[in-house]
């Protein structure tokens, strides 16, 4: 076991690194575009990894000896990346150290609400209704996808599949959006009441 190496390497890796390593580890060799597709299906819904990132990260991993690259000579010159044993070690080591950092919940709409007192009540209302609409739409979207997932996922207890954990991730998304819809609905109601009282 090259664990002594793995632990020092882990200091150099970001969440993006683990995303890529993890995907390479379980989906097999990928082009950056493959990575993009895998990401888009789940985590990508609420943790955006821009495509340029997924093109830049793998080479970094290659430098660290955690992946290898193979490049097409034909027209597209695709870059195909494969995880190395050291790469898998790094993922394992990462999973063995449960993250203690708390969630970054960056919602531009919420930031605007935070400054709602600086706006007129018209502006405020528009703002709130927009957020409500956004979160409702997202909720519908996630729920639809969650249903799809569940269709193909018939887990035998005690033997959870890849799809199972993917589905779980999505389900957190659903829960968040539900909470958000409730929240903004409450805000909208309050505002409406205020306007009625102001007449």
């Amino acid at each position: 076991m090259s664990n002594s190496q793995a632990t020092s390497i882990n200091a150099l890796l970001t969440p993006t690194s683990y995303l890529v390593l993890g995907l390479l580890a379980r989906e097999g060799p990928c082009t950056p575009y493959d990575l993009k597709r895998h990401v888009a299906a789940t985590i990508g819904h609420f943790w955006s990894f821009r495509h340029a990132l997924l093109y830049k990260e793998p080479p970094r991993l290659v430098e660290l000896g955690l992946a290898t690259e193979e490049r097409e000579q034909a027209g597209r010159r695709r870059r195909l990346f494969t995880v190395t044993a050291a790469g898998i070690d790094a993922v394992r080591a990462w999973l063995e150290r449960p993250s203690r950092e708390s969630t970054e919940l960056r919602d531009p709409g919420l930031l605007q609400l935070f400054f709602a007192d600086l706006a007129s009540s018209d502006v405020r209302r528009a703002l709130v209704l927009e957020q409500l609409a956004i979160h409702r739409a997202k909720l519908v979207e996630y729920e639809a996808e969650a249903r799809l997932e569940r269709g193909s996922d018939r887990p035998l207890p005690g033997h959870r599949t890849v799809e199972h954990w993917r589905g779980q991730t999505l389900s957190m998304g659903v829960r968040y959006e539900r909470a958000a819809v409730d929240f903004w609905q409450g805000v909208a109601t309050t505002i409406a009441a205020d306007e009625a009282a102001a007449v």
Copy 2:
């Protein structure tokens, strides 16, 4: 109105910019440390703005003519920033364009769960329990603070105060953490059932 200017300037501003501008607009002149304190109380709970950022952003705003700086000559040489009329215009313009970008929900723990199939069931369990603990702690923390806020906030309907919107922000945090606790609790239960079935 210098709205034609304001709109072009808005393209150069980040959420951080609006955070600073907004705070300067409603709390009055601030040192970077003041900003830090204001942030820590609310949004800072789930959208971390490191202190170095809050020292770097204001000068940027000064360059753009959205704020002015005054510096102490005495021992501490504090930098005191004040928002300009153009700065206030920029905030207003921003609020008038409800953000359409969806929430970035960056949870390292969830990323780990996403790759749970790559770990042993022991590692998996540790992971889940850790997240559950984290979110429970956060929930307690937020709820406590939300109670404090509500103590000082006695809103007359139709006349919401600054504190009111601050409180709202926190309340979204509470909702998120509740959702997270539910979620991880569910995962923990499933895992426990699996382990029982595996014997």
